[in-house]
């Protein structure tokens, strides 16, 4: 790559070999419906917390899949669990369970 004058920026890489994907596995195992997310954004559009502050349910999915636990922990703290996202989801994903599993999982795997 060096030949072409391009390089890979550290901050823009995801090394799947080194990822701690226990949380992702835990969430998907206990709430399989989350696998069917099409990232349509309906949840984010209706979100009560998102109406008050920068909060995006789709970002949660992204951080979870990138195993960026720190960002995930910061984001998930904003959810008010009101349940509107679950009601508007066209894929009938049980998003509230996803949120609770992430909250539990973060504590669980931090301690392990």
């Amino acid at each position: 790559m060096g030949k072409f004058g391009f390089s890979v920026m550290e901050t823009r890489t995801v090394n799947f070999g080194e990822l701690d994907n226990r949380l992702l596995g835990y969430v998907l195992e206990n709430e399989a419906s989350f696998l069917t997310c099409i990232s349509c954004g309906g949840c984010t559009a209706t979100c009560s917390a998102g109406n008050l502050i920068d909060f995006n349910v789709r970002k949660i999915n992204l951080f979870l899949r990138r195993c960026d636990i720190e960002s995930l922990a910061r984001e998930i703290d904003k959810c008010m669990l009101c349940g509107k996202c679950t009601l508007v989801c066209p894929r009938d994903i049980n998003i509230r369970n996803v949120v609770m599993l992430i909250k539990k999982g973060i504590v669980k795997f931090r301690n392990e």
Partner: protein, 608 residues
């Protein structure tokens, strides 16, 4: 005869009874010591008040007569009553009999239990024939209950039950022992009567019959020994089986009457309630989760708490609709027990919502809080605003643009500390508005505003109550249509808050309501409840469609409810027109405005 046999056979009974007494006493003491200081003071004060007598009467009525089970099903009630009350009478009259026999109040503890074995020559003592026959009849009474219990294993339907709880091994031992005690007692007493001629109207003829072909010399002591073992086994297995509910329930009744209440954290009063569950299984049949083949009913949760193997899958898979609590014959606070367990299990991960600070506040007479679910059903919001405008109320729409959730969904999920942050924020704003009334469109919000907010001097009303009040004041138009409707009681408003009549009285001005089987306390859950974190949407649909099908049997023109979530859930079923109570009222305003406009138009035309 008596001298030949050592009294060794009484020991299984004595050991069992001693073990049982020690364990139960230990638990009572531990439970009492574990209560908060205020609760202990309540008990101390209550002990010397009328509450003690009331508790004793209630314990007699529920613990022995089982009045509430009779109401559920008479056969089931009879079975429980004959076993509990019959056994109680056997013990009481057994002691009277022993007193009459001994002529004094001092006799060994086992004498009334093994009375016929020891009594010879009953002619010489007073009332012995009377007692013998009375005891026989009482035994017959208990045996009728035991045979019903045998029969229940094969045919639950007679008892009005479709499901029974799954038994643990400890329960099995206790149950087998319990089933054996009374038949063995009948046999043993008959054998003794055959030898000593001390039986009553049932045991004596039986004894005479047995003496013809049974070697009584041998069978009598063996049967008494077996009887003693059955009693001993029952007492030993009792503390670790579901039969612990017998002493625990009595204890629970007393504590409840002394005003001891559940807290937001698990304490020994929660344990008392857990141990009071008899696993009768009445809560199983009433649960709508059965339809979706989910088995996480209250009886299993209580069992899991006792066995310390409660999982999130069981704990969080419940609609908290409250139907089980309504039918529980022991009166266990099943919803609050489950919520406290949820609070305990999520203590480590509550949110801080540090971004919440203040917010816009307006001065008004009435604060209107629509709630998150109402924002998803805008027709309710629109109707309420129409009604406010029509009746000229000075109101502030608190969550029109930006406001946090009320906190109830977090509360239901056990996130108590997180909910407290939202509650604090909303509370400050409501108080700052200077309003005297808070109107809420969502029963889920309503419950948390009533129970967990500290809003002195502010009247919190669900919009069905508020509209009823406006109607009574003559601020709303009445227009009775020919439509026939069913009113669906939302769980949080009906069983949760006890509001059944006001919405019905209000609706009677607009539509004729069809009385249905499952209404008010027995009303069905729509299946949409936010309290269930684990249920899948497909499973919710089964519950919703089942409820809708039941309503459709009455062929109503529309289904009216007063909860945005119920409306949204039923609308998803797509089977019938679903309206909120506010829409029904608002429709009459629109109609009135239209007719006014027509009248104006006519006046205008005439003038031209």
């Amino acid at each position: 005869m008596n001298k030949l046999l050592p009294e060794i056979f009484i020991w299984p009974f004595i050991i069992g009874l001693a073990y049982f007494s020690i364990i139960v006493l230990y638990r009572f003491v531990r439970w009492t010591l574990g209560l908060s200081k205020i609760d202990k003071i309540r008990i101390w004060k209550g002990l010397r008040s009328r509450k003690t007598l009331d508790s004793a009467i209630e314990a007699f009525r529920e613990g022995l007569l089982h009045r509430k089970i009779f109401r559920t099903n008479p056969v089931l009630g009879y079975m429980h009553m004959s076993l509990a009350f019959g056994w109680f009478l056997l013990i009481v009259f057994g002691h009277f009999e022993a007193v009459a026999y001994k002529g004094s109040l001092s006799f060994p503890v086992y004498l009334p239990i093994f009375f016929r074995f020891f009594v010879d020559g009953i002619e010489t003592y007073p009332f012995m024939h009377f007692f013998a026959s009375l005891m026989d009849l009482l035994l017959l009474f208990v045996l009728s209950g035991v045979s019903l219990a045998y029969y229940k294993r094969f045919n639950k339907k007679l008892f009005g039950m479709k499901k029974a709880t799954r038994l643990k091994s400890g329960d099995r031992i206790a149950l087998t022992a319990l089933w054996l005690i009374f038949p063995l007692r009948l046999l043993a007493e008959s054998f003794s009567a055959g030898q000593l001629k001390n039986g009553g109207i049932i045991t004596q003829p039986l004894g005479n019959l047995f003496s013809l072909f049974v070697p009584l010399e041998l069978t009598t002591p063996v049967t008494w020994l077996a009887y003693s073992f059955a009693l001993g086994f029952f007492f030993v297995s009792l503390p670790n089986s579901r039969y612990m509910h017998i002493p625990a329930e009595v204890f629970f009744i007393f504590l409840r009457n002394y005003s001891v209440r559940l807290k937001k954290r698990v304490n020994t009063y929660s344990l008392v309630q857990v141990f009071s569950c008899s696993r009768c299984g009445i809560c199983l049949d009433t649960c709508q989760l059965n339809l979706a083949n989910i088995h996480t009913q209250s009886v299993y949760v209580l069992k899991n708490i006792r066995n310390k193997n409660l999982t999130d899958e069981v704990l969080f898979n419940c609609l908290l609709c409250g139907k089980c609590q309504q039918v529980c014959p022991v009166g266990i606070e099943l919803i609050d027990l489950r919520i406290t367990q949820r609070i305990e299990s999520t203590l480590q991960y509550n949110s801080s919502y540090s971004y919440l600070a203040g917010g816009e506040v307006k001065q008004a007479d009435v604060v209107y809080f629509a709630g998150c679910m109402t924002h998803l059903t805008p027709s309710i919001k629109k109707s309420m605003l129409q009604i406010f405008a029509y009746s000229g109320v000075d109101y502030w729409f608190m969550d029109e643009h930006k406001a946090p959730c009320c906190g109830r969904p977090l509360m239901q999920a056990g996130q108590y500390d997180a909910a407290a942050v939202l509650i604090e924020n909303n509370q400050q704003k409501i108080l700052a508005s200077g309003a005297k009334k808070l109107v809420v469109s969502c029963p889920i919000c309503y419950k948390v505003f009533i129970e967990d907010y500290n809003l002195p001097d502010i009247k919190v009303q669900h919009h069905s109550e508020y509209l009823f009040e406006l109607m009574q004041m003559g601020s709303l138009p009445k227009r009775l249509t020919s439509e026939k409707s069913i009113y669906h009681d939302p769980c949080e408003l009906g069983r949760g808050s006890g509001i059944y009549d006001k919405p019905r009285k209000l609706l009677s001005n607009y539509t004729s309501l069809i009385p249905i089987m499952n209404e008010k306390e027995k009303s069905l859950c729509c299946g949409g409840s936010l309290s269930n974190i684990k249920i899948q949407m497909s499973e919710r649909d089964i519950i919703t469609n089942n409820a809708l099908d039941e309503y459709l049997q009455y062929s109503p023109d529309s289904l009216i409810t007063s909860c945005p979530l119920c409306k949204k859930t039923f609308a998803r079923g797509n089977k019938i027109m679903v309206k909120d109570i506010s829409e029904v009222v608002a429709a009459s305003i629109v109609q009135k405005n239209k007719s006014n406009a027509c009248a104006d138009k006519k006046v205008l035309e005439q003038a031209l």
